[in-house]
């Protein structure tokens, strides 16, 4: 598949699923790999279009420079925010034990 020179469609799906934190079942991986290949095949038309010299469009908003004054607005009580949490301990969200660091993408 031209769209994924670095591996088979199933390897691509596996790698991308890992990045996207989707724990796909084997059968699902296979089905998705096929669809993925077909979708990308269909989208190959993009590669054939000459876009040299074109500046990418970052968004449809033509608004610029929206800034907010540094004025406090009331926060919501912890209880209200935690009400939707699947698990919490006192006023903390609680998740499976992990080691990490601040800003700790691991």
């Amino acid at each position: 598949m031209a769209a994924s020179p670095h591996g088979s469609p199933i390897e691509t799906v596996r790698k991308v699923a890992d990045l996207a934190r989707l724990d796909l079942a084997d059968a699902e991986e296979e089905a998705l790999a096929l669809q993925f290949a077909s979708i990308l095949e269909h989208f190959q038309v993009l590669a054939r279009l000459d876009v040299s010299g074109v500046e990418g469009m970052l968004g449809a908003s033509r608004v610029d420079d929206v800034l907010r004054e540094d004025l406090p607005r009331p926060s919501l009580p912890a209880g209200e925010m935690l009400r939707n949490a699947p698990a919490h301990t006192a006023d903390f969200y609680s998740v499976p034990k992990t080691v990490g660091t601040a800003g700790g993408e691991m």
Binding site: L19, R21, L58, G59, S61, V63, D64, D65, V66, L67, R68, E69, D70, L71, P72, R73, P74, S75, L76, P77, A78, M81, L82, A87, T89, A90, D91, F92, Y93, S94, V95, P96, K97, T98, V99, G100, T101, A102, G103, G104, E105, M106
Partner: protein, 496 residues
């Protein structure tokens, strides 16, 4: 390990092999901007507040909530760029940095990738060395994951979306000491311009260190990143350890031990670094332009406005205090280290035209008084005394209206009450007594029965009179002019 090398000149000479190794060091410093509210929402942030008490739909990543940029954060960031001599981009944009972690509520951090708001700039160290900056960008902080309480990890999102500026140096630093000096200078500047308080205890300044070593004249070695080193002393220690470790590994002759590009964590307790991860390739942040935030333009007017808020930078100020005002390097250093103190000094010096005296009073008595509990004032900000009052006091002493000792009392009263010097001199009766009759009467009392002293003076030892000065001053309550007392005593003895 750090004791096995001897440091001479540039780089580190290995004791084992005699080879000179050159460390290459770069720093990435995150500083919390001193705004009232977060970067993208109106929540305030206070270190140590109850968990999850300072959050809202935006900073907890509720579905449908959108970021709105804090103008003051941009202003402080631009001010920082100007203070560091960096180039402010005419426009910049925000990008999403995508990764999964429990303290990152949106699943991405809003940061800046290919259009940071500023590039270039740098800091000149006291040694004269120039450390260049690659870029500075604005980003939001993550929340806090707490791993050491109970069997689950706890998440507090109070810190989520607090504004940070990340400054990245070129790999210009060559020793742990230079890294320390750089951080000290950076912190001083950020505090000076009011961009950040840089309180490391509160995590307001956090540092990642990049370091590699190579033999003189050879290509650079593999870059090791040491994460979250949270004090300047630790930066120095982590670098010393890491440089020694890398040299030792390079010289081990065992290719499996050669330094590799990796991320390590510093263990402050043991003073060592350890591997955190080696799979750099597993990182793919998938940066793309944040569609919820339009581009930001910094026009000339905004730039000039921020420039107008910039104070004189500390290094220049120290130099000026010494060259133009004649202060000692020590006094200049003490004053400049605290911007508020230096500002106070300058205003007082301007009024009194006696900068050295003003500096002396501030670096000695004012700082000493901050430590005295009965004064109840611990910083310039809390102090009620105005610069003009200090100037007035210096003038009163200079004119002989009050004595130095009375000055110490007066100064503390001014710091406590904020009343003008003249009012307090009156209220406290601090003015020196100029009435010669009164002084003469105190002197006569002191001379009574002191025949030995009288004899000594008459015998040509005028310094013997010093023993009488104390009792006279005491009798006057410190208000007698010591010069007048001395003259009076001499005159009386002469007549005896």
């Amino acid at each position: 390990m750090s004791t096995t090398q001897e440091k001479v000149g540039i780089g580190v000479v290995s004791e084992k092999t005699g080879v000179r190794w050159i460390p290459v060091i770069g720093l990435e410093v995150h500083c919390q901007l001193d705004t009232r509210t977060k970067l993208f929402c109106g929540c305030e942030y206070r270190f140590g507040a109850p968990p999850n008490s300072l959050t809202c739909p935006r900073c907890t990543g509720q579905p449908g909530a959108l970021p709105v940029l804090n103008r003051e954060a941009l202003a402080l960031a631009v001010r920082t760029a100007l203070a560091l001599g960096a180039e402010v981009a005419p426009w910049s944009k925000f990008d999403r940095k995508n990764y999964f972690y429990c303290d990152l509520p949106k699943g991405y951090q809003i940061s800046q990738y290919d259009r940071p708001f500023c590039t270039g700039g740098g800091i000149t160290l006291p040694s004269g060395k120039r450390v260049r900056l690659t870029r500075i960008h604005l980003e939001e902080d993550a929340g806090k994951a707490i791993h050491d309480r109970g069997d689950t990890t706890l998440v507090d999102l109070n810190r989520s979306s607090v504004p940070l500026i990340e400054s990245v140096t070129e790999a210009d630093l060559e020793s742990p000491q230079e890294a320390y000096d750089y951080l000290t200078a950076l912190k001083e500047i950020l505090q000076y311009i009011g961009a950040s308080r840089c309180d490391m205890e509160k995590g307001e300044l956090r540092c990642d260190v990049n370091v590699s070593v190579h033999r003189e004249g050879e290509p650079w070695g593999a870059k090791v990143e040491v994460k979250n080193v949270n004090s300047f002393r630790f930066v120095q220690q982590a670098l010393e350890h890491e440089i020694a470790r890398q040299i030792e590994a390079c010289e081990s002759g065992d290719p499996s031990r050669y330094p590799v590009q990796e991320t390590r964590l510093f263990d402050g307790g043991k003073g060592v670094t350890r591997t955190m991860r080696t799979k750099e390739s597993a990182h793919d942040y998938r940066y793309f332009a944040e569609p919820d935030l339009p581009p930001v333009h910094v026009d000339a007017a905004f730039l000039e406005k921020q420039r107008s808020f910039l104070p004189e930078m500390p290094a220049l100020r120290r130099e000026r205090y010494q060259k133009e005002m004649g202060l000692s390097p020590y006094d200049a250093g003490v004053l400049v280290a605290d911007r508020a103190l230096a500002d106070f000094f300058e205003m007082a010096a301007r009024v009194s035209k006696k900068p050295k005296e003003c500096a002396n009073w501030i670096t000695n008595e004012v700082l000493r008084a901050f430590a005295e509990p009965e004064i109840g004032v611990k910083s310039v900000d809390e102090m009620l005394m105005k610069p003009a009052d200090l100037a007035e006091m210096v003038d009163l002493i200079h004119r002989g209206v009050i004595h130095n000792n009375a000055g110490r009392q007066l100064l503390r009263a001014m710091m406590r009450t904020g009343k003008p010097a003249e009012v307090l001199v009156e209220e406290m009766g601090l003015a020196q007594v100029q009435d010669t009759g009164q002084i003469e009467s105190w002197c006569r009392e002191a001379l009574a029965g002191k025949d030995k002293i009288v004899a000594d003076v008459k015998a040509g030892k005028p310094n013997a009179i010093n023993a009488l000065l104390g009792p006279v001053m005491k009798a006057s309550g410190g208000k007698a002019n010591p010069q007048a007392v001395r003259e009076t005593l001499l005159r009386l003895i002469e007549k005896m």
